[in-house]
Amino acid sequence: MSFLNHLISGISLGSIYAIIALGYTMVYGIAKMLNFAHGDVIMVGGYMCFCATTYLGWPAWMGVVLAIIVCTVLGMAIERLAYKPLRAAPSLAVLITAIGVSYFLQNAALLIWTSNPKSFSSVVTGDAISLFGGQLQISRVTLVTVFACVVIMVALMLFTGKSKVGTAMRAVSEDKGAAQLMGINVNTTISITFAIGSGLAAIAGVLLCSAYPTLMPTTGSLPGIKAFTAAVFGGIGSIPGAFVGGVLLGIIEIFAKAYISTQLSDAIVFGVLIVVLLVKPDGLLGKHVSEKV
C-alpha cells in the first residue's frame, strides 16, 4: 500500500512537472531556445489567479481565464521586445536574454506583490478520492492535472502534427530562411508559439499553486528548472516526451526519497537522469536525428 501511495504522490508531482514541461518543450521545439523565463511566467499566472480570486472575489474559473489571458499577452510581449531582435544572433544570446527576463519578472513581482508568501486557495475543490477504505488518497488536483496534461498533450500533438500553422512551426524550427521562402511569416509563427507556450504556463501556474499552495516571486524558478530537466529527460522538443519525462521524474523523485534517502534525493534524481541520457542520448522519446553525411 505504501508503494501505491508513493506512486500516486509521484504521479501528482510528476504531472505538475509534465504540464510545465509541455510549455517548455513547445517553445524549445519551435523557437529552438531554452526559455528560462518560462518558470516565471508560471509564477505570474499563479499571482493573476490569486489576485482575481482573493482580491477581486472572482470565481476560480474566471481567475484561470484571467491568468491565461495575461500570460499569453505577457509571453508575446516578451518575445516581441526581448527575443525577436535577437533572431539572427547565436542561440546563447537569446538564452541569456531569457535569464534577464526571468530576473526582471521575479523582481517586478517582488515590487508588486512583496516578498511575503501568499497561500493560494486551490481552484480545484472537493475532497480527495479515497480508495481501499481511506488507505489510498488521490487528490482532485492530481486528477485534474493529469487530465489537463493528457488533453493538452494530445491537442498539441494534433496541432503541430496536422494543422497548417503547426507544420509551419516545424518548418520554422528547421530552417527559418527556407521557411520564409515558403511564404511562412516566421515572426508571426514564433509569436504564436510563445502565445501558446505562455498560455500553457498560466494553466501550469494555477495547477502548481493549487497542488502546492504557496506563492512567492520565486515560486516558478525551481519547478521551471525541474520541468526543463523533465523535458530533456523525455526528449526535448517531443511533446509526448515532455509528458512521460515529467511524470517519470516525479515518480523517481518520490521513490528516491521514500526508498533510498531524503538527504541524497537530489543527487539520486539527477544521477538517474544522467544514466538514462547515457543509455538513450536523445531522451526517452526524443527522435534520433542522425546527420546525413
Binding site: 524549445y28 531554452l34 528560462f36 526581448a82 531582435p85 535577437l86 539572427a88 544572433a89 547565436p90 546563447l92 544570446a93 538564452l95 541569456i96 536574454t97 535569464i99 534577464g100 527576463v101 530576473y103 526582471f104 521575479q106 523582481n107 517586478a108 517582488l110 515590487l111 528548472i225 526543463f228 530537466t229 530533456v232 529527460f233 526535448i236 534517502s261 538527504q263 541524497l264 537530489d266 543527487a267 539527477f270 544521477g271 537522469l273 544522467i274 541520457l277 547515457l278 542520448p281 536523445d282 531522451g283 546527420e291 553525411v293
Partner: protein, 361 residues
Amino acid sequence: MNKLKSYAASRRGRDTLLSFGIVIAAFIIVQALIAGGMISSQIKGLLVPICAYVVMAISLNMTVGILGELSLGHAGFMSVGAFAGIVTTTCLADAIPLAPLRLAVAMIVGAAFAALAGVIVGVPVLRLKGDYLAIVTLAFGEIIKNIVNVMYLGRDADGLHFSLVEQNFQLGDGGKMIINGPIGVSGVAKISTFTSGVVLILVTLFFVLNFINSRTGRAVMAVRDNKIAADSIGISVTHYKLLAFVVSAAFAGMAGTLYAMNFSTVTAAKFDFNTSILVLVFVVLGGLGNIWGSIIAAALLTLLPELLRGLSNYRMLIYAILLIVMMLFNNSSLKKRMLEKRGMKQMEKLERAEKSGKEGA
C-alpha cells in the same frame, strides 16, 4: 602572402597583448588608487570576487566558446576547487606558514580535484550533444552541491575523518570540523588577496591563450565547428572534447579556491545553478570565444549590481533591464554598424600601408 600571414599573426598577437595589457593596467591603477586611499571599501571588497569570476568566465569560455558545448554546471567545478582548497589550507596551516604559498598549493590541489571531477563527468557525458550535454552538466552541478551538503570532514591528531550523510566519527581533543555538512565551512582563514587574484588571472590567460593558439586549440575549435569533418581529418573528437573540458574545469577549480579563501564561510549552496548561469552570462555578454570580452564582462557585471545599490528596491529590476538591453545592443545592427565603421578605417589603413609599401619597394 607573407603580409597576410603576418597580418593574421599580428592580430592574434595584439589580442593576446590586449588581454594581458588590460589586466596589468587595471592592477596597477587599482593598486595606485588603494595606495592613494581613493578606493572605497565597497570596491576593495569586490576585487577578489571579481578576479575569481574573471577566471571562471575565461575558463567557461573554453567550454562554451572554444569547445562549443553549453555547460550549465560550471559552478560545480568551482565548488570542488573551493572545498578542496579549504581542506588543503586548513591542513597545511602549520606546515606552510607563508600564506601566498599555501594559497598557491591549495589552488593546485583545487585544480587537480576539479580536473578529476571534469574527467568523471566528461568521459561519459561528452558523447551527448547540445542541450542534452547542458542538462547533464546542470545535473552534475546539482549532484556536487547535494553531496558536499551531506559531507562531513574533520581533522584531529589522528588525521582526517570523513563521512557522508551522517557524521559517524568523533573528533579527538583539539580536533576541528573542516566541512560540516549543510553548515558548510566556517572560520576560514582569509588568505586570498587582490594580488594573488591578478596573478591567477594572468596565469589563466597565459595558458588559455596559449592553448587556443596551438595545435591542440585548433583541434578543439575544429571539433566545435564540425565534428564529422574533424573526425575525417584524424582528430579524435572525444579526446579533444575531454581535454578542453578538463582544462576548463581545472581553472574553475582554481577560481573556486581563490573565491573560497576570500570569505570566512562557504556553503555548497553558493555554487548552484544560479552561479553557473551568472558565469555563463559573463561569457555570452563578453562574446563567445572572446577572452578579453569575458574579462571585461565579468568585472563589469560583478560591479554593476553593487553600483546600483543607490536604487534600493529597484536595484535588481534595473539590473535585469540593463542585462537585457546589453544583450540586445550586443547583437544589434547599431553595434554592427559601429564595428563596421571601425573595421572600414582599419581596412583603409591597411590598404594604404600596403600601397605605400609597394611604392616604397
